[in-house]
Subunit: 225 residues, 2 copies
DNA sequence: ACCTGAACACCGTTCAAGT
DNA sequence: ACCTGAACACCGTTCAAGT
């Protein structure tokens, strides 16, 4: 005789798995990976945990706090490389590590790239870049704006990449062709002229290009002092 | 005998001002400027127009289309400078024009910086940058990735600026002091060391710095060919 | 300490019916 | 062609009451 499962009341029986902040974050990531960021709601997350939406408020500061927690989780799982002592190599390595962590959950990337994180998780990459710049003999006062420029460039590039999505890649030939003719008929001469190049987008290559350009700029600036 | 104002029904009397796409966009901007972007809803916008929320659907493709329209409006009002023929000067001028238009409605800036715009409005700045690069002898194939890097850098920087908000500036001494001690106690040595510089943020100066660095990188890359 | 019922004040959107 | 009533399926969040 299987009793029809009644909704629990009060604290759960000791055998039951406690609702935990980590479980909530994981569930949220699941929602994001499957249905995208707009599908995140206190209700949708609670649903896949088999819990009342209001229970989440015991572990997370509202929906905003939940999204912050997700961003921190992703940033916290970033694998920072050991510095080798070579400025260029080290900056490039950090740049690639940043991209890798952001793209681990592409649909969640805007969160990581966009949220102003007050927590310590957000500071680990900052520490990494500062360490490399300081090792190259750059004083903190000069290092900070360089750090900010570098981060801004990577964020801007990654934001473009994740917003463009897979559609905008190099595989969807039909889509590329269609975008190309749109651009050719835009009435803007330079845009039309470059339509073939504007219509396609190789994210790996473009990231590489931008990162290299940024690192070049930084090393040039530093050696100029 | 003043009749109690009954809600209109059907098409409005010919004297009444027609609901128009432009009016809707303007009203939305008003909501954003006053209460921020999260305050935008079909209902809030309709309310200040004295209209039923559903009427908006006759002029705008849902809430998403509404936000796109706002972004296009802002981008469309960007004042692009006449090219002088000097690569550096022209790129700097476009960069400053971009910032100016984005900051005309600071609360709406994330829209402009973040939305993937399919419309022609979004192409005007692209045309401007391409024109300058082509004038400097750069072939389209090389110009496009440079353009993308440039735009990504500006977007990343402006995003940081608007997210930081006025609080994070250089005027709020108390806030700066508090952030500084937080950073000093972060346990991260390089962060602690640079705490004084990390705690403050002069947006004008930083934008100038980043823009210069980016333009330097581009000109260096071009003359290397 | 943690969970939920009841409740509140919101959302975006469709569709048919009006003029 | 444009507007709205009725309606639907959602939201986030508070607070008191349970265990």
């Amino acid at each position: 005789m299987t009793a029809t499962r009644e909704p629990r009341r009060g604290r759960p029986p000791k055998g039951a798995p406690q609702l935990t902040r980590q479980a909530i974050v994981t569930a949220t990531l699941k929602v994001i990976d499957i249905d995208g960021i707009d599908a995140v709601s206190m209700r949708s997350v609670a649903r896949i945990l088999g819990v009342d939406p209001k229970s989440l408020y015991n572990h997370v500061a509202g929906k905003d706090g939940l999204l912050d927690a997700v961003a921190e989780e992703i940033l916290g799982s970033m694998h920072l490389p050991e510095p080798t002592g070579d400025l260029r190599d080290d900056l490039l390595a950090i740049g690639h590590a940043f991209r890798e962590s952001a793209l681990a959950h592409p649909q969640a990337a805007p969160l990581v790239l966009t949220r102003q994180l007050a927590s310590l998780e957000g500071l680990a990459p900052v520490e990494a870049v500062l360490t490399v710049l300081r090792a190259a003999g750059c004083p903190p006062r000069d290092a900070v704006p360089i750090l900010r420029t570098l981060v801004a460039t990577l964020i801007g590039t990654l934001l473009r990449e994740v917003h463009a999505g897979p559609t905008y890649g190099i595989t969807d030939v039909a889509g590329i062709a269609q975008r190309r003719t749109t651009l050719e008929q835009s009435g803007l001469p330079r845009v039309a002229e470059a339509a073939a190049d504007l219509a396609r987008f190789d994210s790996d290559a473009e990231y590489q290009f931008t990162l290299n350009l940024a690192v070049d700029a930084v090393t040039a600036r530093l050696s100029a002092t």
